[in-house]
Amino acid sequence: MLRSRWWLTSAALALLGCGGPFPQSTLAPRSDFARATDVLFRDIFWWAAAVFVVVELLLIIALVRFRHREGRAAPRPAHGHTILEIAWTLAPAVILVFVAVPTVRTIFTTAGEDIPPNALKVEVVGHQWWWEYKYPDLGIATANEMHVPVGKPVQVAITSADVIHSFWAPVLGGKRDAIPGHVNYIAFSADSVGDYSGQCAEFCGASHGNMRLRVLVDRDSAFQAWVDEQKGGPATPPKASLAEQGKAVFSRSACIGCHTIQGVSPGIIGPNLTHVGSRITVAAGLFPNDSAHLASWIADAPSLKPGVLMTRMKPPLTDADIAAVVAYLQSLK
């Protein structure tokens, strides 16, 4: 009994290995935008498959029929068959029309600029190597984890603060470059609730591979709760708690030069930390947002993310100070 259960579990796990999870598969669309490109991809795939079959079939027929055999004269090559030549010139042209028209149409429909008036607007700013999100109509500023309501149109306006990045959450839509001095748009409405991951898709320096992102598609009520939470100021740590000590350490350390905590510090170089405790990851999606990772991040960020602007502090914070700052940051729900 136990053994058969073991076998069943193993088989299930093996099958799971075949079936994913592939959190960044472009073949599992979860929004109108992603579905538009998916339909286009499947269309073109079948055209390509048909061309492949025809070409390979002709090749195999030629190889078999005209192969060298003892005692048989070489076949006489045909040359100058006008109808054939016209046919194989026209056929690719016709196929290209069937590929080009839907492609150009999809480019226009996914341009992201014509949006319904009730669309939620999100501004994305790419930084080396993290994502800044602003909700101009809601007065929210956050980083790396974008929350959007399910089934509602969302317009994302994308730009960059330094070099060229590319915003890409594969199951929700195609890549779009974040270019300093330009604004590019995508628009989508997500089909289903979920936690969708993505990453920077344009090489942007040392930690390009560590520049991840998440889009959390929430039910309406959950999204509203998140908005209410984010719109408020930062939590005030209780008197004489570890978190309160952490606030004091934060306020007298280099942290304030780069990070904003509303009412505490005005820095704009790094991510806004006003509600950092509410995020599920730290360091642009690299690590779970728990005490251990937060502590090692504060102590020595460059060893976790090569090239990161957040250097080791001089003089370094003591372990006690770090523990206090971690408690403070975690209290900022």
């Binding site: 779009r176 590019n184 320096g205 090569p306």
Partner: protein, 345 residues
Amino acid sequence: MSQRAAPAAPAALAAQMTHGPTGLKAWLTTTDHKRIGLLYFWTAFGFFLIGGIEALMIRAQLAQPNGHLVSAETYNQLFTMHGTTMVFLALMPLSAAFFNYIIPLQIGARDVAFPRLNAFSYWVFLSGGLFLNASWLTGPLFHAGMLNVAPDGGWFGYANLTERQFSPGPNIDFWLLGLQILGIASLAAGFNFIVTILNLRAPGMKMMRLPTFTWMTLVTQFLIITAFPVITVALVFVMFDRFFGTHFYVHQAGATPLLWQHLFWLFGHPEVYILILPAMGIVSEVLPTFSASRCSATRWWCTRASSSGSWAGACGATTCSPWAWGRSPTRCSPRPPCSSRCRPV
């Protein structure tokens, strides 16, 4: 000198040819098209092996999550140098090997039009390749704290990541100067082969009788002399930005980093055909020969016209308007077509 005035007798010529330098010196001083062809071939093969080792290191690093075979910085140098090596140090000189060895034979010429310029092209190419790869070992000269300071901006080197602000080390400088050196070699060879094919054909070898490979070579050389000046200018802009404080790709100064992408792909798309046309030429010679049949379609000249146009296709993710796609690149101002749709943040 009496020798110069009178043409040498065939026997004297033969003696001259057999009594030239021998051994290593012969290879170092040669202006013979076949020997230069072989030099190109084996040098390209050597760089091809280096590029292959780089590719293996990339795959080994990626064989498991969070691999630590090399650091993030070295990894970026590996894929940048892999791409640069394969395009400029392996594939292009491999084509050059075939141009050198075969073209004079196919058109009935004794050598290329400018044999010494031909040798110059090879040695400049070799220096460019050695200069680029020297960056693997010269970190200590720049107090970089590591041995390797190879280029790390991707083989496409997108501005503004290549600006001094974001890439302060000597890495990008190696790339800029290395590509400029290689560009000189390609341009010199390009003109050399155009003159050779147009002027040194044997009597009766009319243009339309040229073998397909020679035609492909001619088209490729025209692509080289039109595409390489564009990348030359684009690289000079980056160099001026890095060394002299200009702002060709700095958006804060009113420019746009997109300018690099337009210039680079105005070079990059013809470059695709520079790489593939000689190979297609070889296939179009080998296939009919071995199947004892003539080639039917000779409509390949269309590719030359379309290759410059396909620059626009690279703009997909940067959201250039699709209307810009049909536009001839020559009519396109240096300001990219998408700039009219820019809005301040």
